[in-house]
Symmetry: none
Subunit: 224 residues, 2 copies
Amino acid sequence: MTAVLVIEDDDRIRLALLLALEEEGYSAYGAATAEEGLRRQRESPADNVLVDLMLPGLDGFECIRQLRRDDDVPIVVVSARDDTHDIVAALEAGADDYVVKPVAIKELSARLRALRRRGRVVVDAVPAQVFGDLEISAEAGEVRRAGRPVAVTRTEFRLLCELAEHAGRVLSRQQLLRRVWGYETGDERLVDVHVGRLRQKIEPDPANPRHLVTLRGLGYKLQR
Amino acid sequence: MTAVLVIEDDDRIRLALLLALEEEGYSAYGAATAEEGLRRQRESPADNVLVDLMLPGLDGFECIRQLRRDDDVPIVVVSARDDTHDIVAALEAGADDYVVKPVAIKELSARLRALRRRGRVVVDAVPAQVFGDLEISAEAGEVRRAGRPVAVTRTEFRLLCELAEHAGRVLSRQQLLRRVWGYETGDERLVDVHVGRLRQKIEPDPANPRHLVTLRGLGYKLQR
DNA sequence: GGTTCCATGACAGTTGTGTGACAAACGGCG
DNA sequence: CGCCGTTTGTCACACAACTGTCATGGAACC
């Protein structure tokens, strides 16, 4: 379950938020001060943090900076102030979103979901992706199975990279045609053929693929 | 330089946004319709997309879905409407943020920066619907029971998704025929058969279904 | 007890996928 | 430039999986 930490000094608002979040299916808990919030997040990190800007003691901006210092957790500011300066300052401090009170819980929930969809901060250069005994190194342009390099052609490599980049998700033949070949339209069987060839090279038992699987009627996906 | 595509039909607003974005150091260009925006994004992808909801022809929601289908570009909705339903629907469709017009350019710019900070979608984090021990992941094209993947066919999957989308509510056979099969009319027994097959796969005891239940004379529903 | 409604197994027709063969296009290289 | 090995895309066929129809028997309702 997704855990949410609410840092808000007003008891009524904090409790209302917690209840509403629980209602939405989150596991929610609160902190009345920035210090307490930071401590709780250090001890048991939540998946999302909601933070008010006007807090006694350490203020919201400083709280965001400190949270951000050792954590990529999505931070949403929930504040009564809708001043552009505050919004910009909060986002610059490291917040990911800013909503103005009073806030509809459905909206908040949707924003949290949207944030979680965007993952953590990623370093640009993905050195290598690993799928079980399969390694794909985009930089080296090389594929290995069980440590041994496997010779794949350019098209096969691009196809594999595309699937790897969206690992775990189905990609339709149309999408693959567009993204690997740049075709807006074309014969979808082309994808089948290359998937087949790729399987011959990267799957121990090509007839029973473990990584590059078919989803009948949908497309293909690469799984770990 | 960071490129921003602005999809907005109102010429004055679009130009104002473009100018303001240029001022902020972006390379900005526009499209007056969803179709044009989609085409431009396909041909030369921008780093961010701003999109209005009320567009002639293809509307903003559909535009977002299509953008999202083959691109992880951060999408920000810029709309005059501040209705919670619109906000939730846009975020669900795949938007990453939603701001209400008139918008301060400094805020918009800060939000764009915040979004770019969060990298690409982490492919593993697939949003899945959960019903007790049952998980439905549209992106992975897969259904799991108690963590184990269950092989369901395309029709079964669509049927399950339809039921999940209206979880807790009864759907008549007619409604299911229309929504899953696209039949305006047809043999209602067809639904029975597929529900039966689905039960074999997703219910621990298919004869005593816990999730996919029959409401005699009414239809079927999926409950938690 | 009669009637309606639903579950299920069997079956034939259809659709989707894997694969081998082949020719065209490509890319080094002498 | 002309040669040859490699890669790429097309096609056809075989096979497996899926779909929709039907018939039967059982459960729920009145």
